[in-house]
Amino acid sequence: MHEQIIYFGAPGTGKSYYVNEKIRGVNRNKVFRVTIHPEFTYSDFIGQLLPEFNPTRGNTDFVFKEGPFTRALVEAYSDSNQNVYLILEELSRGNVAAIFGDIFQLLDRDRFFVSMYPIRNKDIASKIVQLHSDEIVLPSNFNIIGTVNVNDQNVFPMDTAFKRRFSWEYISTMPVINSISGNREKELNNPKILIPVDRNRENDLSTNWQSFYCALNIFITDKERGLGKSEDKQIGQFFVDFGDTLTTKSYSEDAEIAAGAMSKINSIIKNKLLLYLWQDVQGISSFNQASKLFATEIKNFDELYTNYGVNKVFSDNFVGNFLRPNIDKYPYY
């Protein structure tokens, strides 16, 4: 009912999907969605004084123009019976301490989910007609939901004081579980994947996306035979979104349809996954180490990109110890 929460997890785990689930059915006027970025400022978030021509007096006044935070707060005060959601996507890509400024103080909520410590902010208060002073608090119906991609490069660090004012809900990299049945969503974003082990297509290993990316995740964090990297390098089910149609077609009994789908799937993987695996997962520093994701023959990204789907690109270690044992771990059927 009361939310001041941050969904965090590896890229592609569906954090925004969880946010959408949370606000499903909420009147669109009660949802204020912002994507944070490195240039996002307090003025963007709260509002700022901007010049406005006053036609009556024939001069220019400076008037406070609300940012999304203030607009959401105005909406929350306008009817305390309805929840208002301020959604802050990609929170770690901005300097949250600077963006929140004095608003930070309001994030401490009491047992009624009202700010424990009011602040005085004349500009914001002037926009809330229900307030008779410049003292503001976050009311019980004012919810904040953020998403944080733990693997973002060049992110701003969040201080502990900010972090502890939110609940942090981890979004697992595991395939999505149906909330009603409790079972894995077998068909959700789970197309067939063919992994070449040589130039002969008949020798391709047949797996599926859910099994494949989970095998990759195990390899990424395995400290003995894998890369031994941190979980934030793993990927989620929606790191690559294939769509329902392509997923279904990849299992078609019509060879032509299936082949067409496989071609598109290989293309999507080449363009959306390989660069991440090459730069962020394998990394240059570990390139010559014993545990490698890619085959020895793959010397550079050009070779990886060119060979993917037509020849062996993954290392024997990955294929033998991680992919084969999990090759049909999460079947489509």
């Binding site: 305390s80 929840n83 007609v129 307030l131 019980s140 119906n141």
Partner: protein, 317 residues
Amino acid sequence: MGHKLLLDSSGIRNHFSDIPVNGEPATRSYVENQIICAINNYNSNLNIEGVEYADIRGQFPEVELSNYTGLIIENTEIGNDESTAYEGNGYFVVNIEGHFFARKILIYVLFSDTRERGRNVLFTQSIFPAVMEYMGRYIDSPSYTLANHPIYFINIINRTLTARSLLRRLALLVALNIECIEVFSENIRPADVPMEIKAFITAYYENYDDVNQHEFVTDYFIVDFTRHILIIKTNKLVLGEYIIDDGEKYLFKGSCEKFYWMEILPIVVLSVKNGYHIDYTELETFITSNVGNFTARDDKFKRFGMLLQYIKKISLS
């Protein structure tokens, strides 16, 4: 876009002339201006531009209507084709002489009587049962407020009140988070009403010696200052006191149920604010054991259920 004070055509305006000003009956426009000034002085953000009389129930079906009801609304003239965009987003669209206005409730307004008469029910009958109905309607709200909009109580009695019981009642409204605006005379300053429960009782109740007494006992409640407990009592909710038997069913006598709510509800809200535990066992027992004694249509009895639900909600039970 502007803000208006909307009063019901058949409500309080017909009594404005009961207000004496310099020994003469007040004119409606004078009272209207004084009310607008008082509201705008209290909350300059509202900047109310004028008063309009209307069929409030017709425009805002959700409003609890009585002789004391008013609304402060946002009023925006819109094009005929814009109605759909506003309706359902908290706005009600009205057509006044061919002009369309999107209207939104900002504040519920409850007026006092125009004169100090019927001291027993003064102020109490202005806010009840409206407050109980709002409490019941928004019981599932994510907020803990009485209603979905702030409630302004506007005292339009043009006389300084001296009776301690009336001053206490005004203070109880403040404790209840109802915003008190006094138009003609300042009887209490809301900011000066103590919100610490012992200080509140010391200031507004008789027979309490804050040095020697560790608890304060009335017919309605016991405040245990040592254990930080408020015990709700039902001594008055018995036959011969606030309840009568008409031979078939029980009834509440006159407006007695309103006295009870006025005594209980603000003290509960104040106690919760002070972190006190609320013991509502007696009230719960009164309700469960009397379900069959009142008719199913007895709204007064039903409102005791709303009171209990609200107490449970704000005490996070």
